[in-house]
């Protein structure tokens, strides 16, 4: 493992931040403070954190409807994220996007997306731009197991392959597409096998092991930066919550749910850190406490922020 203490602790902080952010989102949604749809990333923290640890600000990502974790892992500002969930003018999108459309183009975050699979062609195009401009930047498309059945998966992977683009396709296989378990929506076990249809490598990793995610992504990113083209990385994980807040997820087998809860990626990394003597439990608890405080501040910021001026309805339809 080529990860040093600092890197591992940074991933840990990212995972803890996502966990705390999403846990608060559960409460805030239940309390009616967040309008619209909210799809949470609880249980999947290791994927975004492991992947984004391989990236810098000049690299691009496209996210999904379940995007909070990607945003945080890529360095998104938590206050502006929370304010956006609240629909406030201080939010990332000035309140015009909401949970499903948070973006930070300066950080290379080309947006969460309400259309399943829509991020893959966009990431392919961003990867095209990285190559066209002769940079060594790469582009990452996050998408789910359900999205791997969509049109855009096929067309994007094929195009990225023949153009040898620096794109890494990260499939977050969390076992579910709303109420459909993976085996009901596709007849394969490893989505990474689909890479063979496009003539580039595919690999499957334990998505609850942040180190495994990091290593697989690191290899794929290195390949991309060298000009060797795309890779498909499948991260097997589990969606802890219902599809969106409000869905109890009654279709899940309680036993599966219980099993997966025991695979929580955060304690798993904690054990690892302590074993490696990179941190004591007390230090880790301190990190978590710090994160909780940040989230609390973000919520306060959001609550105290003004709602948009109704005139904003008409702005930014077109660039001039």
């Amino acid at each position: 493992m080529d990860l040093n203490k600092e890197q591992l602790l940074d991933m840990y902080k990212k995972m803890a931040t996502i966990r705390a952010f999403e846990s608060k989102a559960v409460e805030l949604f239940a309390a009616g403070q967040i309008p619209g749809f909210v799809h949470l990333y609880l249980g999947e923290e290791a994927v975004a954190s492991g992947v984004c640890a391989c990236l810098s600000d000049k690299d691009y990502i496209t996210s999904t409807h379940r995007g909070h974790g990607h945003l945080i892992a890529k360095g998104g500002n938590i206050k502006m994220m929370m304010a956006e969930l609240f629909g406030r003018s201080t939010g990332y999108c000035r309140g015009k996007g909401g949970s499903m459309h948070i973006a930070d183009v300066d950080l290379g975050i080309l947006g969460a997306n309400g259309i399943v699979g829509a991020g893959m062609p966009i990431a392919t195009g961003a990867g095209f731009a990285c190559k066209y401009k002769d940079t060594d930047a790469v582009s990452i498309a996050f998408f789910g197991d359900g999205a791997s059945d969509r049109a855009t998966f096929h067309e994007s992977l094929n195009m990225a392959s023949i153009w040898k683009l620096p794109v890494v396709f990260i499939c977050e296989n969390n076992g579910w597409a709303i109420s459909n378990s993976q085996e009901t929506h596709q007849n394969i076990t490893d989505i990474s096998d689909r890479a063979s249809s496009y003539g580039f490598p595919g690999v499957s990793v334990d998505g609850n092991d942040v180190v495994a995610v990091y290593e697989a992504t690191q290899a794929a990113v290195a390949r991309a930066r060298q000009g060797d083209g795309p890779t498909l990385v499948e991260c097997k994980t589990w969606r802890w919550r219902g599809h969106f807040e409000g869905d109890p997820g009654a279709y899940k087998d309680p036993k599966d749910q219980a099993d997966w809860l025991t695979k929580d990626p955060i304690p798993r990394l904690e054990k690892n850190l302590i074993k490696l003597k990179y941190a004591t439990q007390a230090e880790l608890d301190a990190i978590k406490a710090g994160v909780e405080a940040e989230i609390a501040e973000a919520i306060k910021f959001a609550e105290e922020s003004p709602v948009p001026d109704p005139k904003e309805l008409f702005t930014d339809v077109y660039a001039d």
Partner: protein
């Protein structure tokens, strides 16, 4: 008559047609045990079983495209697209395949398929889950477009859509799903192409449909108090359009306001205004007005979203501006 919500009425319409004709089946994302994203198909899986109520992968092109083939081969699919906003993922299957097959083949095929899909803003779902785009479908020869505004119409138009031998876009509004109303039990058919006068009046005609019908009915109450008598014509189906009912009403009132939730530019209101402007020119004693959403995407923040949606107040103001 029975009290039902709009959602229950849609379901009842599907259920009765499925009982009537074994070739009618349902396919869409999460429509089976889960009952659909908005619960509209709840219970149908239990009643009709896995053969007739099928979950699909997230594959809109295959959902609509398979429906075209199944319909051409003798079945009567009701396919669900979870939000009308996702029709961009399957427009080819609708407009080049389903819509044109019969004509291209010289009348030797039929495609009796219903595409059921919810539209509309009002739930903070933002730009990709809140749209109304019915005018797109009305621009496609070969497709019929149905937009029920009440529970009874929702049931009766579903029956007509399923029995029709052409592809039908059946567009239900999310904000109406919980609205209750009187609905006939058993078989009940509302013919496609017949408008309904939802309120009689003498001073001005308002043509509107779907959710905006409910807002317009409320506005008309207020306007009555102010002494303005509003006639509300609900076309119920945009294609075929009951032109005569609209012209007849305008010939009586001399004024026409069109209210819809689509963005104004190239919304279906333009088509109605053009028809009445040409064929009803002499009836008009004032310019035809359109009240519609502005030409912007749909914003997330509630304060912005409600500024986007044509409101009861805006309807009242628009009517008053015409006197």
């Amino acid at each position: 008559m029975k009290q039902m919500t709009y959602a229950e009425a849609i379901r009842d319409g599907m259920r009765v047609e499925m009982q009537r004709d074994p070739n009618v089946y349902l396919a869409g994302e999460d429509v089976a045990q889960f009952g659909g994203c908005f619960g509209v198909t709840a219970g149908l899986y239990d009643e009709f079983g896995p053969k007739r109520v099928m979950n699909t992968p997230i594959s809109e092109a295959a959902i609509v495209g398979h429906g075209v083939g199944a319909a051409a081969a003798g079945l009567r699919p009701i396919v669900e697209i979870m939000f009308v906003d996702f029709m961009g993922c399957c427009m080819d299957e609708l407009f080049n395949q389903a819509a044109k097959m019969r004509y291209m083949f010289g009348g030797k095929a039929k495609v009796p398929m219903v595409v059921r899909t919810p539209c509309g803003a009002g739930m903070g779902a933002a730009a990709q889950h809140s749209q109304c785009i019915e005018s797109w479908f009305t621009h496609i020869p070969g497709v019929k477009t149905v937009m029920p505004g009440t529970p009874a119409d929702a049931k009766g138009l579903m029956a007509a859509a399923v029995r029709d031998d052409n592809p039908v876009m059946y567009i239900e509004h999310k904000q109406l799903l919980g609205v209750p109303g009187e609905v006939p039990e058993g078989e009940y058919v509302v013919p496609l192409g017949k408008a309904d006068i939802k309120r009689e009046g003498s001073d001005i005609t308002i043509v509107t449909w779907s959710w905006m019908l409910q807002k317009t009915l409320a506005a008309a109450e207020e306007l009555a108090k102010k002494g303005i008598s509003v006639e509300i014509v609900d076309p119920r189906t945009l294609v075929p359009l009951d032109k005569d009912a609209i012209l007849k009403s305008v010939s009586k009132t001399g004024k026409l306001l069109i209210v819809h939730e689509e963005v104004i530019t190239s919304g279906f209101g333009g088509e109605i205004a053009a028809i009445v402007g040409e064929e009803g020119f002499d009836y008009l004693d004032a310019p035809i007005k359109r009240l519609a959403a502005p030409f912007t995407p749909i914003p997330f923040a509630p304060i912005l979203e409600s500024a986007f949606i044509p409101s009861e107040d805006k309807i009242i103001a628009a009517v008053e501006s015409m006197f």
